[in-house]
């Protein structure tokens, strides 16, 4: 191993990647993209649609329609709160003996002036059931507005029907407000909400996935390029395959670190100067320094682990099609925490999740995802890192064997038996 030759490779990889426009673009776009991801849904919610939805109400319960109408007029007075409900929905009573089915059919017609049908009836035990037939039930705003208010209407109507005084009614309408407070080690507490925790965790596991896959693919394309342009033979006349591969991995990892450093610096600057009250929505302690550091550790180790896989893949493939087939399992394994994020959030300490977060294939993204949710026991973090480090060495050995034979091969992709032979050689 000659350090100066290794450094020459590291330097070339670093320079070639950083000078590319795509590096600059990705570095700038990612924070913007994730910022947008957090802001856009609430923006969409605020956008007012001008359209008034005409909804025909088949009220078989006999009392809900009046409730709806009076609630709507009440809502109009309280403009601020229930503006949507008041201004965007128009309730219509169907003529006597109208046929529900024919109205539902009308809803399906694009040009129909009716946007939906609301069917309300009481079951024998007094339970009120309602069904909404709409052309576009994925209009979350409309459906959730209906859902939110029907219960209040039912309550209001029932209270009025039973002649309960307004005072008592108001008491009854009071709700318990539940504040969620996250308790961390040492009794530190912080207020949080499901949405915030969800977005943060999603952000962390998604970013880690993108970094490992992105830089892994960069490495793989580099290997393929050297193979197809035949530079590799020229390089191997001055270098050992292990030196070449190590140089490439280190060079690309340096690019990743630089990118991460830029993001962290941006974050620090934002917190210090706090433009437009940026930090008011992300109160102190939302992202902790140890999380930033562990993210770095899992990115670097995860990248090293998968680098061997990607390098071996690049050395045996010569077309993008071949690569795509082999990529799928890796993508699935790395994105796994994002796919089961709901389950992890519910119980980040479930036995199988803990076990998987110790296994190197999953541990980079899965352990980091758990760390983002909760205070993971320190022994688990250390064990995960240690096992991953061993995994890195093992994969480097395995991938290196395939790589050194693969890069000089031409023609057909080797079979799995040939690969085993290379590994044994």
């Amino acid at each position: 191993m000659k350090i100066n030759r290794l450094l020459a490779v590291v330097k070339r990889e670093f320079k070639e990647r950083v000078m590319k426009k795509s590096f600059l673009i990705f570095t700038l776009i990612t924070p913007l993209l994730f910022g947008a991801l957090m802001v856009v849904p609430s923006l969409l919610w605020m956008v007012k649609s001008e359209k008034v939805n005409k909804i025909v109400v088949f009220d078989k319960s006999g009392f809900m329609y009046d409730g709806l109408v009076s609630f709507k007029s009440e809502a109009k007075e309280e403009r601020e709160k229930k503006e949507d409900f008041a201004s965007q929905i128009e309730f219509v009573k169907p003529p006597q003996n109208a046929d529900l089915k024919s109205y539902i059919r009308k809803v399906g017609d694009e040009n129909s002036e009716i946007d939906g049908v609301l069917e309300i009836y009481t079951e024998e035990n007094g339970k009120v059931v309602s069904t909404f037939y709409g052309r576009n039930i994925s209009n979350i705003k409309l459906v959730s507005t209906l859902e939110r208010n029907l219960n209040s209407i039912l309550l209001n109507t029932l209270l009025k029907k039973n002649n309960i005084s307004e005072e008592v009614a108001n008491e009854l309408k009071k709700k318990v407000e539940l504040k969620a407070v996250k308790v961390e080690k040492g009794g530190k507490t912080k207020e949080s909400s499901f949405l915030k925790e969800y977005l943060k965790t999603f952000f962390v596991s998604m970013l880690l996935y993108m970094l490992i896959i992105g830089y892994g693919q960069t490495l793989m394309r580099g290997v393929m390029e050297e193979k197809s342009s035949r530079v590799v033979e020229m390089l191997l006349s001055s270098l050992k395959p292990s030196e070449l591969l190590l140089g490439k991995v280190l060079g690309i990892a340096t690019v990743g670190l630089l990118q991460y450093l830029i993001w962290v610096l941006c974050g620090v600057v934002l917190f210090i100067f706090n433009p437009a009250n940026f930090t008011s929505s992300l109160e102190k302690g939302f992202i902790k320094p140890e999380e930033v550091a562990l993210f770095l550790v899992f990115f670097v180790l995860g990248f090293f682990f998968y680098a061997s896989v990607f390098a071996a893949m690049g050395s045996v493939c010569s077309t993008d099609q071949e690569v795509q087939q082999l990529m799928l399992p890796i993508v699935l394994i790395l994105i796994f925490p994002v796919l089961i994020l709901g389950m992890i959030l519910q119980n980040p300490n479930a036995g199988w999740i803990v076990a998987l977060s110790l296994i190197p294939l999953f541990s980079p993204t899965l352990m980091m995802t758990r760390i983002a949710i909760m205070s993971v026991p320190i022994w688990q973090v250390i064990a995960s890192i240690a096992i991953l480090a061993f995994g890195v060495v093992f994969m480097a050995w395995l991938g290196g064997k395939i790589y050194r034979t693969g890069i000089l091969m031409t023609g057909k992709r080797p079979t799995i038996f040939e690969l085993i032979k290379w590994i044994r050689a």
Partner: protein, 305 residues
């Protein structure tokens, strides 16, 4: 000085023996030619010399040392499959290769630009490799092998795909490197070029060395023994059978196929003694190409038997 020494080198790919028990010695400061038909094992042999493949058995030493013991920059290499990073600037690429050879970055950069200037590519220093024509890329590739004046340069098919002008330029560059002390081993199947350039050659066929030695001596041994002599008078009456295996005597000329140990000098001396007026003495030359074909065919004949 012995520069390159191969002993009983073997390499197989699966069932196929690519290089079979090859022994070869190359002395210092010369141009050595490795000849052979396609698929003879030249590239495999060269890749083993460069340490890209490991031999199955046998040993390879360069300057009496193992490859791993050589210091930086002692070797230069031009692979048969040309390989450059298409997206890199020419000067950066050459500098990178020089850095791999152990030069400092600054020195490598200066040398790279100097080299480009030498082959008339100065204004392409900051152009990407992919923007260059094929011929220019070949020049850059040759520079990568010779620019640092290595002690030993291995050039695999340096002339393939070149136009006649560039062939001349490449010959000049290779000769210049040799003059500066580089020992050059080149492989080729273009015999004329090898004949013009090389001092010694080895002929390789089916993974084995079938002929090895000085170009002149090989020609003497394997070349044609045919002599055609024209006379101003009638051919003198001597016992031609003493000199030739076959003799065709005509009115004013003879065509002889000389015996192995007969020198031209002895024959001419004898003819003069007998008062011959020699107008023309023509020695049938045979190029390496003929020898090559002859030896390869003979070898195949032997194998079949």
């Amino acid at each position: 000085m012995n520069v390159l020494n191969l002993r009983e080198v073997c390499k197989s790919f699966g069932e196929k023996k690519a290089v079979d028990n090859v022994a070869l010695e190359v002395d210092g400061n010369q141009i050595f030619g490795l000849l052979g038909p396609n698929g003879a094992g030249k590239t495999t042999l060269i890749r083993m010399i460069m340490g890209i493949y490991l031999p199955d058995s046998g040993s390879i030493s360069i300057f009496q040392k193992k490859l791993s013991e050589l210091s930086d920059g002692e070797l230069g290499y031009l692979p048969e499959e040309r390989g450059l990073y298409p997206k890199m600037k020419c000067a950066d690429l050459l500098a990178f290769f020089l850095e791999l050879k152990g030069f400092s970055f600054r020195k490598a950069k200066t040398k790279a630009v100097e080299g480009l200037e030498k082959v008339g590519l100065k204004e392409y220093a900051d152009k990407k490799v992919e923007e260059l024509s094929k011929g220019m890329q070949q020049k850059v590739q040759l520079l990568a092998a010779l620019n640092h004046y290595p002690k030993l340069a291995i050039l695999d098919e340096p002339f393939s795909g070149l136009d006649p002008v560039n062939v001349e330029l490449f010959k000049e560059i290779i000769k210049e490197a040799q003059n500066k002390g580089t020992t050059v081993v080149l492989s080729s199947h273009q015999m004329e070029l090898v004949e013009q350039l090389c001092h010694k050659i080895a002929l390789i066929n089916k993974g084995r060395i079938v002929l090895n030695g000085d170009v002149g001596e090989i020609r003497k041994e394997y070349g044609s023994k045919e002599v055609h002599i024209e006379f101003g008078n009638a051919p003198p009456q001597i016992n031609y059978d003493e000199y030739a295996e076959t003799a065709k005597i005509e009115a004013s000329s003879v065509t002889l196929s000389l015996k192995k140990n007969v020198s031209h000098k002895a024959l001419i001396g004898k003819l003069w003694e007998k008062g011959a007026e020699i107008v023309k003495f023509e020695v049938g030359t045979s190029s390496l190409h003929d020898i090559f074909v002859k030896v390869v065919k003979e070898g195949e004949g032997k194998n079949e038997n």
